[in-house]
Symmetry: C2
Subunit: 430 residues, 2 copies
């Protein structure tokens, strides 16, 4: 999508009307645009995207703005020890577990204005609608904006939700990024690293998160609502391929131990093995370093990453084994040594089946078609799945583009998503 196409797509629905749920689509749009100012490139417009990396000055400013809106909605926001922003709305029965919902507002560098922001501001919008209708739910409601979902800072995302679920790694508070410890970064946003354990949260009836799909399924099939079956498991391997660096002019072809030839065979093998069976599994070689990386030297050493994702963890494990078996054959054929080291393992996080049904009921009530699909991307919801029932609502991403200034969702789809979130909350909190 070109910048011009982006602007045209945005202009398609300039006058968004409220839906039957009471969501004020115009207010939601205005707030997405206002939040986008924090981290916008100098002199840029909304279509130029946003860089609001967690703990940056833009993140601090964006969080202050979101807290202002939460206060205006009567949510009396507080910041927990992990920097998460939480705001509560009383229900008629204070003894019941709350319905928890929200998302994040941090972004990747040169990211888009919908990833995270939509779910966070739609959660506040849901409260606004209930306030305007003077509607009291039976259960308490709790809105959350999680800390550092993207994990650009400290190369480790879902920080706030992992803290809430008790999933932080030992020593994680001492990690240093850009010269600042995780501890000090938390202090910058109002967290309390010395009491990080207090961020562990109590039980909840359900955790709901509205998010853009970040893939092209809903957009391609023109279905406004995605009901997430779960967040895929991810196995990532660091692979080292050792050949022998030598002069590219003087070393005959049969004598070479070219690590890049082996890496190329492996990259193609990952693609072939992942694609040769039906299903929605994906596999990617996204990172590659070649040493010495000179035009006239045969590559002696290659380091690359292999990443596999699927909702079925047995399939992820099997694909990993098949790829490693093939890698050993490639090593033999190319006279190289190939070593796989597991770099990270994330279990799939399945959405609660009953909550999926609730989202489908809410969509149907609003006259919106829905479909079930997995989330290929990670989300704070996967942390919550460790400690309670969770579900996610997806809306279409135009052309499936995300983590890019070209990331775009239609305003109408945004409002529909907020409405499905609100209706689902109404059902669950009743």
């Amino acid at each position: 999508m070109t910048r011009g196409q982006f602007l045209t797509a945005m202009a398609f629905a300039p006058f968004v009307r409220g839906t039957s749920s009471g969501v004020n689509a115009q207010r939601l749009r205005q707030r997405l645009e206002e939040l986008s100012l924090h981290g916008r490139p100098t002199g840029g417009i909304f279509a130029d995207g946003v860089s609001r990396v967690a703990f940056s000055d833009a993140d601090v400013a964006g969080r202050a703005l979101v807290m202002r809106w939460m206060r205006e909605a009567g949510l009396n926001p507080r910041i927990d020890a992990a920097g998460n922003i939480l705001g509560s709305r009383a229900g008629s029965d204070a003894k019941l577990e709350p319905v928890l919902f929200g998302s994040h507002i941090d972004s990747v560098p040169s990211g888009g204005n919908f990833d995270g922001d939509l779910g966070s501001l739609s959660a506040i919008e849901a409260i606004e609608v209930l306030n305007a209708a003077r509607e009291t739910t039976r259960r308490p409601l709790e809105v959350v904006v999680w800390t550092n979902e993207e994990g650009v800072a400290y190369n480790n995302g879902l920080f706030g939700s992992r803290a809430a679920a008790g999933l932080l790694d030992k020593g994680e508070m001492d990690h240093v990024w850009n010269g600042v410890s995780q501890r000090d970064a938390l202090r910058k946003i109002g967290g309390d690293p010395d009491k990080i354990g207090s961020a562990r949260r109590g039980p909840f009836r359900a955790y709901l998160e509205l998010h853009i799909e970040q893939g092209g399924n809903l957009d391609r099939q023109k279905i406004p609502v995605g009901v997430v079956e779960g967040i895929v498991g991810i196995d990532r391997f660091d692979v080292e391929i050792r050949g022998f660096a030598n002069h590219a002019g003087t070393t005959p072809m049969p004598d070479r131990q070219d690590a890049l030839i082996a890496a190329s065979e492996l990259t193609i093998a990952v693609n072939q093995i992942v694609r040769r069976e039906p299903g929605r599994q994906v596999g990617t070689v996204g990172h590659i370093d070649v040493i010495p990386n000179a035009p006239n030297v045969i590559p002696g050493l290659v380091r690359l990453t292999v990443e596999l994702r699927d909702l079925d963890k047995a399939k992820v494990a099997r694909l990993g084994r098949e790829i490693q078996d093939r890698a050993q054959k490639i090593a033999t054929e190319t006279k190289t040594a190939v070593v796989f080291t597991p770099a990270s393992h994330h279990e799939p996080a399945l959405a609660d089946p009953k909550l999926q049904t609730v989202i489908e009921q809410a969509s149907a009530k609003l006259g919106l078609k829905s479909m079930r699909l997995p989330s290929g991307a990670g989300h704070d919801a996967q942390s919550m799945a460790h400690i309670g029932p969770m579900a996610m609502i997806f809306i279409p991403s135009v052309n499936g583009i995300s983590h890019s200034p070209k990331e775009l969702s239609r305003w109408e789809d945004c409002a529909n998503g907020a409405a499905v979130l609100l209706e689902s909350v109404r059902i669950l909190a009743a």
Copy 2:
């Protein structure tokens, strides 16, 4: 080869005797070792290699040492405008064109102690032998140590020999490297950039250069002398592959435009196309950059180099066309765009057939087996081929390793090479 193996190999011939030609193998070894001190890693030994990049302080010191030896050999060295060190020995007929021979003493970073040094110091050794024998040749002799052969400085090698052959590029004197212009770098080593044209040299009977093979042919076949048929032509292409960067978790496999898949197919195609016909041609993808190069992002852009070498320029050109044709098929299959840009073109430089025969005669006289072979690496001799007859003598490189501290030639082979150089000079200067 490990460092231990290197040291063992070096120790094999600790007491090198003179050959029938009169070459003092012990003196040649001692001088190679003494020169290696200039640019040796701090605290290192000979086996740790050398970093004597042209125009560096180590290069300046090494040049001063070589000039001292040239003075001691009565060569009365002078520095020409291009920084080349030249020393002459009179013949009995001053009107005849001289026999020119030598090499270079600059190195790549973390290079070896034989590449260039052997040919330069063997040229001086040849003069020493003639002096000791009070032997006067009919033709004058001229020893040369060329400036910046490796081209690490200014990314453009063969500087001195190109200046001598009138092959410098327009504007080359203004190039800046490490903050210093080529002009000022020349002044540092005693050259005169304002009179660079004066480095153009007059006619010569022959240019001879002794060098290590830098490949494994002689070592594998246990043949002590290589007679170079010519220096291969080189075509280098910069290739840009444009796909589309997208989320590695959310983008289904069939929707991807993965530039690294295309790059991998191309890397393998270069290898296949170069290897599917007989001959000594080589093809290499040595450099690759991936953008954004993150484990969880589908590569959107890849830049790589394709380099092809052979003595037959028609073959190099045809292979280049075949690879480009295949690249377009790969582009279609992978939904990417692949663009080849010619980055550099070097014509093959053929050695003079009569001079090749002279080297074979010299080898036979010394009882040394010889074989003809191409040079896959570039040498100053290729500049000389533009303005006169040239030939090169190769000696074995253990395991074919070069441009590495592990570069190694046996002392006996070094002495044999110097002897073949001397005998060839004797034949040509007679």
